[in-house]
């Protein structure tokens, strides 16, 4: 998504610019010149901000919100725009330019007291550190009538060590983590012309591989079966494939098997997933260059009809619909390894997109006013609605209420698939909040799994099983070290806090 400086659609400038460039000779060159966006319109903003229950500052001021953007930007932009309309003295500035921007700007802003008023926690900063350093403030005292407000949330939605620290609520998840992060996305026309029926012919790993081969053969060198953003996600794709073969892992702690409390990158499912992906390459049905493509390369190429399928989350659905309205695509859940099998994706029901209030914000009442709206049933309903259901709320009532609106079929399907395939897995911090102390000590491990898989594909790593086993051993050792360091600093934790012997990945885990 983009950052949105407030001013939008200034018609005079728009016309002026169009005329200027039009006259510049482009029209004369015989091309059709378009000044207006012919992309599908964005969903109309339906956010209306309630009257404040707090006294707000009245001078002119700028309120800043920084997060990683993507789907939630559709909602956040609308909220902040509506807020500016409701309170004209409050200029709102939303920045959603991805994690690198969050990581740089928030940590530096904290250093000299200019951090955004509301922000997403940088990936490099464990939330427990931020709380301990006093960079963020609890919202219990900020939000008016907090207890009533919190009643709107399911009792187990906010978890100690994740959202609650020292008994105080610091953050709330703006979206549910009940979202599949790997779908099988396909080009309807490409599959059709190759005679592949997505309902019938993508029922297992082998079927999908055969379908990719068919598409490639029919494509005559112009169209390929599968395209992937290998430069950014190849390790992730292998892990997700492994999950579809029954690998015990969750996407919050990849490769961690809660039933044993050990990492499982040496499991057979991982090797099977790797071999499966390599098979596409061996068949020649992997789009050339896939190994180093970034997300953008794939997302931009797909609507050109050059590939049959790709693996990715639902993040791009809104952009595709808006930017390439003529392109017809569909998606399914990942096929199971064997035909007729079921895919279960474990996830930690912690929610996503946590927002934090900067401790030194000059406008705590505005932050409170905004959060009490976005965290209300009404606000969350609008979140689901504005993202066409591609994002779901942690609050079930909000998801239900949003059904009443005309949601995009892709959004409905994405939510259905998630409910069908995803199962809650254990949350160590829900049992012992102190485990977050170990995360503070965690060391980065290089090469990471993505790099290892890439190394296998480039041929730099010849013995994948050995490399994965070593990586696994390093992860296990590193967790032990982190635990030891946290214990030395007084945390009451042990490796047992990560063991849930009764975990069954095919069932929702209930403590």
């Amino acid at each position: 998504m983009k950052a949105t400086p407030r001013s939008r659609g200034e018609l005079s400038r728009r016309r002026l610019l169009g005329m200027g460039f039009g006259l510049a000779g482009l029209a004369a060159a015989g091309c059709q010149v378009k000044v207006d966006d012919d992309a599908a319109p964005r969903p109309a903003a339906t956010v209306s901000i309630p009257d404040p229950q707090l006294e707000l500052p009245d001078g002119d001021l700028t309120f800043r919100w920084v997060d990683s953007g993507s789907l939630k930007a559709l909602f956040n932009e609308a909220v902040l725009e509506a807020y500016h309309e409701k309170h004209p003295n409050v200029t709102t500035d939303y920045t959603g330019q991805g994690w690198p921007t969050v990581n740089d700007t928030v940590t530096l802003g904290i250093r000299n007291g200019t951090a955004p008023d509301i922000f997403a926690m940088p990936q490099s900063v464990p939330p427990a550190t931020a709380v301990e350093e006093g960079w963020v403030q609890p919202i219990d005292d900020l939000i008016p009538d907090f207890d009533a407000w919190r009643e709107q949330w399911p009792a187990d939605a906010l978890v100690p060590g994740e959202h609650i620290f020292d008994g105080k609520v610091y953050t709330l998840p703006l979206g549910s983590s009940l979202v599949l992060s790997q779908l099988l996305i396909y080009d309807v026309a490409v599959l059709e012309s190759a005679g592949v029926d997505p309902e019938r012919d993508l029922g297992s790993w082998d079927q999908m591989r055969a379908a990719a081969r068919t598409v490639t053969q029919q494509g005559g060198g112009d169209v390929f079966g599968l395209i992937i953003p290998g430069g950014q996600r190849i390790g992730r794709i292998v892990m997700e494939l492994a999950v579809s073969a029954g690998w015990r892992s969750s996407e919050t702690i990849w490769g961690f098997d809660f039933s044993t409390g050990e990492y499982a990158f040496d499991a057979p499912e991982i090797m099977a997933a790797l071999e499966h992906l390599r098979a596409f390459e061996a068949d020649g049905s992997l789009f050339p260059g896939s190994l180093t493509f970034k997300n953008d390369d794939v997302v931009g190429r797909m609507p050109n009809g050059v590939a049959g399928m790709t693996f990715h989350g639902n993040y791009y659905v809104a952009e595709w619909k808006q930017g390439s309205p003529g392109w017809e695509f569909g998606f399914a859940g990942q096929p199971p390894q064997e035909e007729g099998g079921a895919v279960f994706e474990p996830y930690q029901a912690l929610g996503n997109n946590n927002v934090w209030v900067y401790a030194d914000t000059p406008y705590p009442t505005i932050a409170a006013d905004l959060l009490s709206y976005v965290g209300s049933v009404e606000g969350q309903t609008q979140l689901v609605r504005m993202t066409s259901g591609l994002l779901q709320s942690v609050i079930p009532e909000a998801n239900e209420a949003a059904q009443g609106f005309d949601l995009d079929p892709h959004g409905v399907k994405s939510a259905e698939l998630a409910r069908e395939q995803m199962r809650k897995c254990p949350i160590p911090s829900a049992r012992n909040p102190e485990v977050s102390a170990a995360l503070v000590e965690a060391q980065t491990i290089k090469p990471d799994f993505n790099e290892l898989v890439q190394g296998v594909f480039t041929g730099d790593i010849t013995d994948a099983a050995k490399a994965f086993a070593e990586y696994n051993a390093t992860l296990n050792r590193s967790l032990d070290e982190s635990i030891a360091e946290a214990r030395a600093k007084g945390a009451d934790i042990s490796r047992d806090d990560w063991v849930f012997t009764d975990w069954d990945p095919t069932q929702d885990y209930t403590a």
């Binding site: 950052a3 400038r13 460039f21 966006d37 330019q97 000299n112 190429r301």
Partner: protein, 271 residues
């Protein structure tokens, strides 16, 4: 003359291949995102100026353009003044400690700059310049500028001493000799310095971004361009449009300044 014509005929295709990626960027600014990824072709059926509309409105190019001009003009002024002065004395005079200074600047080329964003950020905060265009300007003008200093020093060292003697007889002091005798002769180096510093100030990204955190209105164009880059998707055609808008001034500046220094130099060098 014939040779020059043949040379031009040879150079034209080479240059066109050379700048193909640039031309492609301009063409990308007239396409949709999906068309951007359709390959290296330049032309599409529909020329989409809406990218420019989006660049102007969403990347706030109008406002940021002004900021970039402010930061660039003043940082160029500061940097060129400071470097021409030090270059002048290093090139023309001998004094105690000169070699140490030259050695320190030479070493500055190689010592790592890797992790300097945090100290620079802290410095601007301590100077109380966060959230002001002056803070960004100063940070952009700052640095060792080894290249420019060397160019000035080398240039001034070659100028004849008679000019100074003559001016001295006319009663000119140190400052006036520098400002009205030697500096005007240094136009070629000044032009080079302006181009280098302009490029740096105009294109720098991280520093203006972090220094204007609290004042989004003060962002520069280079920061605005990256506003099109997102977590999961980048608006490449909007980015290309904003880049094109941002790059035109540099290219024009280069085109005119280089011609200026090329044509005016020879005379100044003769004496």
């Amino acid at each position: 003359m014939v040779r020059a014509t043949i040379l031009s005929v040879v150079l034209v295709p080479i240059c066109l291949v050379w700048i193909y990626p640039f031309i492609w960027m301009v063409s990308a600014s007239l396409k949709t995102n999906a068309e951007v990824f359709s390959g290296l072709g330049l032309f599409t059926d529909v020329v989409r100026l809406d990218n420019y509309v989006r660049a102007w409105n969403e990347a706030n190019v109008g406002r940021y353009f002004f900021n970039s001009v402010f930061v660039t003009v003043f940082s160029v002024l500061i940097a060129v003044t400071a470097t021409s002065m030090i270059g002048y004395v290093l090139g023309r005079y001998r004094f105690r400690g000169k070699k140490v200074i030259i050695g320190i600047f030479a070493a500055a080329i190689f010592l790592p700059e890797g992790y300097t964003i945090i100290p620079v950020f802290d410095l601007i905060s301590k100077l109380g310049l966060t959230g002001s265009l002056w803070g960004v300007t100063l940070a952009e003008a700052g640095g060792a500028h080894v290249v420019i200093i060397l160019l000035f020093a080398g240039f001034f060292a070659q100028l004849p001493g008679e000019l100074e003697e003559a001016a001295r007889i006319d009663g000119a002091g140190f400052l006036r000799i520098f400002a009205s005798v030697y500096l005007p002769l240094a136009k070629p180096v000044i032009a080079t310095a302006v181009i280098l510093q302009f490029m740096h100030s105009w294109n720098d990204f991280l520093l203006p971004l972090v220094l204007t955190l609290s004042q989004p209105d003060l962002r520069t164009l280079a920061v605005g361009i990256y506003a099109f880059k997102g977590e999961h998707l980048t608006d490449w055609s909007g980015m290309a449009a904003a880049s094109t808008i941002a790059l035109l001034p540099i290219i024009l500046l280069f085109f005119f300044l280089q011609r200026y220094f090329v044509e005016s130099v020879a005379g100044a060098m003769k004496g």
